[in-house]
Symmetry: C2
């Protein structure tokens, strides 16, 4: 809050919304609801989704990543909620959790997590379709979605998920499924729900049937998650940013389906309707100021050994006190805030790298009293 305090702006609401990768979506809903509520006072809201996705040594480690996405929320936005069409699913599961308080690393049951994700996708899609059909008086199918953005821990799951929605449309008898696709899905029509999650043959056929639609409706959303890896709360919004980056003004008038998932588990499918909007809040300007290409290009490549070494240092310092951080800020982008010290009382101190790239001479933010 120190940045706001400096400006004399302390009359602020909104606290952490916590629920694994779903936390950012919860914060987004809370913020949009605030703008629509009678207690809104005309100011913009800010939603910050940020995480370091790190894993213990093993097969999950290379899927990790880190990101921060900030969304500015206000009325008459070019990116608007279709708020009546929203399907959620909550259930109790231990698919991915962080029970060991001494460690930042999660306990992950990869296979269970994938099944939970697909079951939640099915349930949310069912709820979403039911609400759409109630308000619109006609059946919904993936043909009604111009693009579909998924929580994207790794791309293979995104491919499977979209294929699953196509199979769901088949089982629902939706108009999006043509005769050729029906024939291919027919052998799987009698599978139970559980069997259908486990069937490799179905997965293969569904991805094959879905391929042309995947290329047009999903592929444009995959750039940043593929490049950066998992980003937990930021993941789905990084996928959405990829779409804005790739299509910007072309998105005016389009409907975008979003599927947000957090282990534990909580998931929501919701949809956005876009319009070009007025500068500076136009789709083209939003895409331009995000400068995705430049950001991706400015990344610094390090050897895997250096990454492992950095994680070792993080492990050592996790929950720790009484240390100062490296003075070397050469890897940080200009303007970056960074941790300088955790004192003996666990109080944290930050500094900001100057906007011109030099380390801040006198920019230290004092956290004490």
């Amino acid at each position: 809050m120190q940045i706001f305090e400096k400006c004399g702006n302390t009359d602020i609401e909104g606290v952490d919304s916590t629920n694994a990768c779903y936390g950012g979506t919860a914060a987004l809903f809370n913020c949009v609801n605030w703008v629509e509520s009678s207690s809104w006072d005309g100011r913009y809201g800010l939603v910050v989704c940020t995480d370091s996705a790190v894993y213990a040594e093993g097969p999950a480690r290379p899927t990790g990543g880190a990101a921060a996405i900030v969304m500015l929320i206000g009325p008459d936005a070019p990116i608007a909620f279709e708020s009546k069409y929203r399907g959620s699913h909550m259930a109790h599961a231990y698919d991915f959790y962080k029970p060991n308080l001494a460690s930042e690393y999660p306990v992950v049951d990869g296979k269970l997590s994938q099944t939970c994700y697909l079951m939640a996708l099915d349930a949310c899609y069912k709820h979403y379709c039911a609400k759409y059909e109630k308000f619109e008086g006609k059946q919904f199918s993936i043909s009604d979605a111009d693009y579909i953005v998924f929580h994207s821990p790794y791309n293979k799951l995104v491919q499977k998920s979209f294929a699953r929605l196509v199979f769901d449309d088949f089982t629902r008898g939706a108009s999006s499924i043509d005769e050729a696709a029906k024939e291919k899905f027919a052998p799987f029509s009698s599978l139970s729900g559980d069997e259908s999650y486990q069937s490799r043959d179905l997965e293969k056929v569904a991805q094959q049937v879905a391929k042309p639609l995947y290329d047009s409706k999903v592929q444009p959303t995959t750039l940043i998650p593929k490049q950066v890896g998992n980003m937990y709360t930021a993941s789905i919004y990084a996928a959405f940013v990829s779409l804005l980056h790739n299509k910007n003004s072309e998105l005016a008038g389009k409907r975008i389906i979003m599927f947000s998932y957090g282990s534990g588990l909580t998931a929501t499918m919701f949809s956005l309707k876009l319009q070009e909007g007025q500068y500076p809040f136009s789709l083209s300007n939003i895409a331009s100021v995000m400068s995705v290409d430049e950001k991706l290009k400015s990344r610094i490549e390090v050897a895997p050994e250096k990454f492992v070494e950095t994680l070792k240092l993080m492990e050592h310092r996790y929950g720790g006190k009484d240390f100062v951080t490296s003075k070397d800020t050469s890897c940080l982008a200009p303007g970056t805030y960074y941790l300088t010290e955790v004192d003996s009382m666990y109080r944290r101190f930050y500094s900001q790298k100057a906007a011109d790239g030099a380390p801040a001479a006198n920019g230290s933010i004092i956290n004490g009293h």
Copy 2:
């Protein structure tokens, strides 16, 4: 979520709102905003505020307590927000925090926490008054509040806080301060803000001046916090419950000022306007079903040594795995859910005591997969 899953109701939104003792207020605002938003689908919302307030051995330990308060949120409620009058204050402070992840006990700077609380109270009251005055076109003073409910970690702070608001009205030149009070406050009129927080003489005079108003506007809110101790997120709502219990139908038409505070720090002053409402959601029925007297009477007194022993067991098990809990449920109220086991994967298992008071024969809730 298992209770909802059993009923086939998984289409649910809303996740943990976390910010020390303020978390419950944040959840309440989020839930009320949802009901007012375009995404609301006509169902009730539930806000759960629950905490165990425990402290390491030392002077703070006897102030601890534990509680859960649940609020049902919907339209046309007998307890309604005056949503345009709301003053918040956020600042960066280390007054009370839990940096040691291996321990449930907080690090508390008692003196700093009290000053932070009073500074936040001043700031929120200033914001609240400014908004009231903007919309109503007249000055606000404590005379416009029928009752004032505070976050109540201990009663002495509540007394000081109300006295502080009376002093604030003096410095604002508000009409609530009569000539006799003005004379008593006059020697303190030139104190700086910081001096005024530290002055014992001012504190004494302010509490003396405030006493008659405290007795009518605040004392009816103090029953449960005095009886139960600190309850963190539930504290302010337990104070509000005390008022409903003491005054129920008399509250129709009254304005109640609420001051919620969470260390770190985040605080909001907001107000409620009450009406009798329709059964079952009438003030008198709400007061009746809460059965505060019975709940307070049904508490079981144990020796301090037993309390210390119980906290030792909690310390030992905090963040732990691979244990089962005591089979003795005689101290639990009928219908209580309770932890039975944490397995080797840190998965938690619960059971429910039968509503007739017998331990559940077959009521175990399986958490695993």
